[in-house]
């Protein structure tokens, strides 16, 4: 018997803002997060893509200097979001049983800056100069380990690594932890900091990135006929997930219920999505089933919608397969149009936005949708935020990743 799980705290640091409130206000207003990169290495390597969506607030200004030195940038961003979520849940002054507190924090790539900086140090200065902290900083579980340490979480620190599906998969792993009965609270989320010349060059060579160098703010344009690839972003999102029992016992404010979730895998191609979206379809269906929700309960979808020519269509096909006629009554937000693609953090940040949408009954906007692709006839929220109806309803957040990973979370209004 699965437990009723609720979300009591949110945290985020994104290209739109250094916390949830500033990110949310920007997402309602419609704010392009991508800008021309002002780093020497862009010119040094003559990169084919010269823009990305960097975080609005540098983590070094928020964390102490020793923390910054001992954490990869991805862990730094995760820690900033985790602290906000923890405080937002009102847990700062609460005695939480560490043996019943777990962490589930995802990343797509992990400490890529640390790995490559250390490689540069090795080649330029020799092995003696390689920092002893290199391995714990670069490992993908670096963030979940550091966060478990920071909050005294002793019931497990798990790391979902499923490329761009990681952030949502972290929530599903959190559900699994809570449903064991051994855990009361999970600090869940995802983080990514991979705006480094190597991933930029690699993604560009896959033809996955937008080349709209002359107009970065207009580059991420999910569902638009002129979309030409995704925009690299960085940041982190965090959610405090508790059993309802635990949340109510301490009188916590509940944003929404984490009602269900599911993962599936395509087994179709290592990077290309299944054109018929079968894996995605199964993930949405299973997520709704585990939420004990019917398709008609759903009013809002925060879509994966990365703005690649290939990727946006199968997600629509999957939604059509699950929702049928009801799809016309669902408003869809493609917030990557604003934030860029946060890879392993995307699903975490988008889950935060989905929870905010349900709590405030407002769906955030999709920007840059000038000419909607006729192959994707969705009701996309553009221009101004869409009011969601009153009463109980379900919102879903979908994430898909290289490797054929599909992860879908279903949230219900509190």
């Amino acid at each position: 018997m699965s437990k009723r799980l609720v979300i009591t705290g949110l945290g985020a640091t994104t290209p739109l803002g250094g916390d949830v409130n500033s990110t949310w206000q920007a997402a309602l207003a419609g704010t392009p997060g991508a800008k021309t990169l002002e780093h020497d290495w862009v010119e040094q390597y003559d990169l084919p893509v010269t823009f990305a969506a960097e975080v609005a607030v540098e983590p070094a200004g928020v964390l102490s200097r020793p923390e910054t030195r001992r954490m990869d940038r991805s862990t730094q961003l995760g820690m900033v979001a985790a602290r906000e979520a923890w405080a937002d849940a009102g847990l700062t002054d609460v005695e939480v049983d560490g043996e019943r507190l777990a962490v589930s924090f995802a990343t797509g790539i992990g400490g890529v800056w640390t790995l490559l900086n250390s490689w540069d140090t090795l080649r330029e200065k020799g092995p003696r100069r390689v920092l002893p902290m290199t391995v714990p900083m670069l490992m993908p579980n670096g963030a979940s380990g550091a966060i478990s340490l920071a909050f005294g979480a002793q019931a497990g620190a798990r790391t979902a690594v499923s490329a761009c599906a990681s952030g949502v998969e972290a929530l599903i792993m959190a559900m699994d932890l809570l449903n064991t009965g051994d855990v009361d609270v999970v600090l869940a989320g995802g983080t990514e900091a991979a705006i480094h010349p190597l991933p930029l060059a690699a993604f560009a060579n896959m033809q996955a990135l937008s080349r709209r160098n002359d107009d970065p703010g207009a580059a991420s344009r999910p569902y638009d006929i002129d979309r030409d690839g995704f925009v690299m972003g960085e940041g982190a999102g965090a959610l405090i997930i508790e059993t309802q029992e635990h949340a109510e016992a301490r009188g916590a404010t509940i944003y929404a219920e984490l009602a269900g979730g599911a993962v599936t895998s395509d087994a179709h191609h290592i990077t290309a999505p299944d054109p018929e979206g079968q894996g995605a379809t199964r993930a949405v269906r299973r997520a709704l089933a585990s939420a004990d929700a019917s398709a008609t309960d759903v009013t809002h979808v925060n879509a994966h919608a990365t703005s690649t020519p290939l990727g946006d269509v199968p997600e629509y096909v999957a939604m059509k397969a699950v929702f049928g006629q009801h799809l016309e009554s669902i408003c869809v937000s493609a917030t990557k149009s604003q934030t860029g693609h946060l890879l392993g953090a995307a699903g975490a940040v988008e889950s935060v936005l989905t929870v905010k949408a349900l709590a405030d009954r407002k769906a955030p906007v999709t920007i840059n949708l000038d000419n909607q692709d006729p192959k994707i006839p969705l009701d996309v929220v553009t221009g101004s935020p869409r009011e969601l109806r009153q009463g109980d309803q379900v919102g879903i957040c979908s994430s898909f990743g290289f490797g054929g990973h599909n992860a879908v979370a279903a949230f219900r209004t509190a």
């Binding site: 020793p66 030195r69 902290m133």
Partner: protein, 81 residues
């Protein structure tokens, strides 16, 4: 022989950078582990940074003999000759 006060000041900066401790806390009689709560990974980071800053070599097998800040200052002063 190198100026021990200058070495202490430089070492204190390295320790501050790594641990966040105030430079004034880094005194000659302080033990790295007992007083300054520096773990082995931080100690190795401090050693590597000290090697670079003072242009000396501190072999790994010597590091365990550097119990106090004073031990490290003396070692660096002698090594820098």
């Amino acid at each position: 022989m190198a100026d021990k006060n200058a070495i202490l000041a430089g070492l204190a900066e390295i320790v501050e950078e790594e641990t966040g401790l105030e430079t004034e806390e880094v005194q000659l009689d302080k033990s790295f582990t007992e007083d300054l709560d520096i773990d082995s990974i931080s100690m190795m980071t401090i050693v590597v940074n000290a090697e670079e800053k003072f242009d000396v070599k501190i072999p790994d097998e010597e590091v365990k003999n550097l119990t106090t800040v004073g031990d490290a200052v003396t070692y660096i002063a002698n090594a820098a000759g």
